[in-house]
Symmetry: none
Subunit: 319 residues, 2 copies
């Protein structure tokens, strides 16, 4: 088969290569298939390539030639025989193959975080868990309730948010964002002040309670007062059947991933709560887009000058 026109070799080889695809991952097989028709030197090259794709991908023609004790010409010839236009392309395929192999051997650790886990595992596991929490939350969120809550917020005269501990931070996050689109929103984390504040609410106002357990007294109490004064009440909780639901017109359920000693409940509940809160925010922003849009831009502008302009390149620093 290689007899024809022995001199300007390669040409027929390229032709035969054209018919075959660049070979995605079936490289080892191809090597075995073609090995008999290879010369000694080429076999050495093919062997090296099949044995350590990743390693060879890091080598230049010269490097691979030296490694196999052959010459550059032989390496190129081998590449051609394997179906690539030249070594450059074989090398690219090799890189792809290496990545492929590497990905295959990552079964996505979902085990609990252990005390002696290396830091890289901690990162992977935490990210994995939080992703799971997000997926669960999204799946379990009642969009009807959410829509109703959004409607109430969009029409609210004022919005009061109650939460203590980790949930307080979520409440502040929501308050910050609602303020940014022009709503009158305030987050409370002091139980006494919260109750004092709740007494002033009435129909047309909205009160939001955030509590993972659904039974945090300091959070429930102000919501109860608001409820009894006629305000629209919303509960963001991981236990929709808990005490807090009694005083809530709308209940938004957050989800909880399994926890362990090294991963306190606060961690996944916070992730879940934040997603819910983000949904509320975006929903409200949609409904009040006429005022929210400009307000969002305006609040960004107001902050812009507080950043050092130094390394801020061109005009639009990511709006």
């Amino acid at each position: 088969m290689k007899e024809s026109s022995s001199t300007p070799d390669a040409v027929p080889a390229v032709a035969s290569a054209a018919e075959a695809p660049p070979a995605p991952a079936a490289l080892a097989a191809k090597v075995r298939t073609l090995a008999p028709s290879m010369t000694r030197s080429m076999q050495r090259v093919a062997e090296a390539v099949a044995g350590d794709p990743a390693g060879c991908a890091a080598l230049t023609v010269t490097g691979l030639a030296e490694l196999t004790g052959t010459s550059e010409a032989t390496v190129v010839r081998t590449s051609r025989l394997l179906g690539y236009p030249g070594y450059r392309d074989l090398r690219l395929a090799l890189a792809g193959l290496a990545a492929h192999q590497q990905s295959g051997r990552a079964p996505a650790v979902t085990a609990d975080i252990a005390v002696d886990d290396p830091i890289a595992d901690v990162v992977a596991k935490l990210a994995q868990d939080e992703q799971q929490t997000l997926a669960d939350t999204a799946a379990g969120l009642d969009t009807v309730q959410l829509g109703a809550a959004v409607g109430a917020l969009a029409a609210a005269r004022r919005v009061e948010i109650y939460g203590v501990g980790a949930s307080a931070l979520v409440g502040m996050d929501l308050a910050q964002k609602l303020q940014r689109i022009g709503l009158f929103a305030h987050a409370h984390s002091d139980a006494h002040l919260a109750v004092t504040n709740a007494v002033l609410l009435r129909a047309g106002d909205v009160a939001i309670a955030i509590t993972h357990s659904g039974s945090t007294g300091d959070t429930i109490e102000p919501l109860r007062v608001a409820f009894e004064h006629g305000a629209t009440t919303i509960a963001v909780t991981g236990r929709p059947g808990g005490p807090v639901a009694q005083y809530a017109d709308h209940v938004l359920t957050t989800s909880t991933a399994r926890e362990s000693e090294l991963r306190p409940a606060a961690m996944s509940s916070r992730t879940s709560q934040l997603l819910v809160v983000d949904c509320l925010f975006v929903g409200v922003a949609q409904r009040t887009y006429d005022t929210a849009g400009p307000a969002l831009s305006a609040s960004y502008e107001a902050l812009a000058h507080r950043h050092h302009p130094r390394t801020a390149r061109q005009g639009t620093p990511t709006p």
Copy 2:
């Protein structure tokens, strides 16, 4: 840190890139992270690369330069910024990425959130985006830096955390958790008080600055003061090349998903920051497990009585 001076221009960029590994599949994330610090032309190149890895892998420097309407030099510069020694290596990585994607087949491009999206879509898109942000952050996080930061925290006499706006909440979250395992940690969101506080720090203390933009003056200033007083400083930022890095012993990079009017930067940056902060927390908890374990249990017990026992179901209300 960035002294190298090996190459004439782009020194800091190369240096910061050198510290990071060549990045296997976290390319899209890296592009987003570094995009703000890129010039227009480089952004075009980066965009092309992130948008069609497979296609770009098939191109030579010249080809990619033409495609993006730039020059070879710019392509090489971009490759360097992304952490590769040159275009050749970027191309190899691209080939690997392409193979990866082909097998994974889960890019799931989510459209932007539109004003008239139904609420269910909003939930799905937000969840999807935050999951993406988490994955990107985990992939782009430098575990060496993280480990070093954890080590510093575990040994710290006291920990001061600086951040304003949305980042302030992240700081508080971290402070809350560190306190829970017995560390002396405090979060500041008032620029003046923060500086006043930073003056008191010295070697053995740790200061953490949290700023997405990397150039928030109110956050950088206290970190600078802490740095100059000999404290160990950590920066959690989306722009590792920004001004804040000047005064940081350890830089932890957060990632950024694309933003739109209805999804302000604060949203994904917060998710990313929280993951980083959680990693810090768990890392510290691991290293100080002897004291952290009991402390975690104790703090839970202390809170238990604040929950209404009424509808609290069985004995262990999700610990």
